[in-house]
């Protein structure tokens, strides 16, 4: 949809809020300055992505990970971001873990309810698996005989 990457802006409302909280009370920001900061943030993300990608490629990985981004911050001379970013990442991981456990718990509860219905179904599946295993064992025996 966007013609150039720089056109992918971050939401103005959020940018404005971040700026206002960073500055003392009573300080305002002109529309031009705000939109320039917004664009700067997009450029920052693009630049950081490119740097991070270099680290990923060095590691022969195709997926950017968090440490690639942290390495990029170092490269871009934003070392002061690294500690707060690491803390944020840990908090994020804890939150993700909590969410995952919560949804797994929900799933377990759900499974318990429908367990009795599925018991017959699962027994059939087990039989199928047993048959497959038997076939494999027979094949193995044949191979051994050949050897």
């Amino acid at each position: 949809m966007a013609e150039r990457p720089e056109d992918l802006n971050l939401p103005n409302a959020v940018i404005t809020r971040i700026i206002k909280e960073a500055l003392p009370d009573g300080v305002n920001i002109s529309k031009e300055a705000r939109s320039a900061i917004s664009r700067a943030a997009s450029v920052f993300v693009l630049y950081a992505t490119s740097c991070a990608n270099n680290f990923a490629m060095k590691g022969k990985r195709k997926t950017l990970n968090a440490s690639d981004v942290l390495s990029a911050m170092e490269e871009m001379e934003f070392q002061r971001f690294i500690t707060p970013l690491k803390e944020a990442l840990e908090a994020y991981r804890r939150e993700q873990k909590g969410k995952k456990e919560a949804s797994e718990q929900k799933k377990k509860d759900k499974d318990k309810k429908t367990d009795s219905e599925e018991q017959d179904r699962s027994r059939e599946e087990e039989n199928d698996e047993d048959e497959e295993r038997l076939e494999e064992e027979e094949q193995n025996e044949e191979e051994e005989v050949d050897n």
Binding site: V27, I29, A33, A36, I37
Partner: protein, 115 residues
């Protein structure tokens, strides 16, 4: 594509399982700076994908980039404010930002990109 600001629901194609957390631009959970991320991860992801050299990006990487962008906004706003303060103004202007970019080495990558 995100339908409204801050409420994107991206399709998670990569990364070790799980879905990208829904952005929560509300009040912090505890103390200042405790909020995890205010920038919507969907928009950050869109920026990352705009890079033709990038194949995939894990959701943690997107999160760290979002948070880094927030820190960047705070930093550049504060640096620009120093210039405005010298002029005894209470409103940050575009020129304050240009001055900050020129003055601070780390912002050199921005030169020529904001016009």
């Amino acid at each position: 594509m995100a339908a409204a600001a801050g409420s994107g629901t991206p399709r998670e194609e990569e990364g070790p399982g799980g879905e990208v957390a829904a952005p929560q631009p509300q009040a912090p959970t505890s103390g200042p700076g405790a909020r995890l991320s205010r920038l919507p991860l969907a928009r950050v992801k869109a920026l990352v994908k705009a890079d033709p050299d990038v194949t995939l990006a894990g959701q943690e990487a997107i999160f760290v980039l979002a948070r880094a962008a927030e820190l960047f906004v705070e930093t550049i706003a504060k640096d620009a404010y120093c210039c405005a303060q010298q002029g005894k103004r209470k409103t940050l202007q575009r020129r304050d930002l240009d001055n900050a970019i020129e003055a601070v080495d780390e912002f050199a990558f921005l030169e020529g990109t904001l016009d």
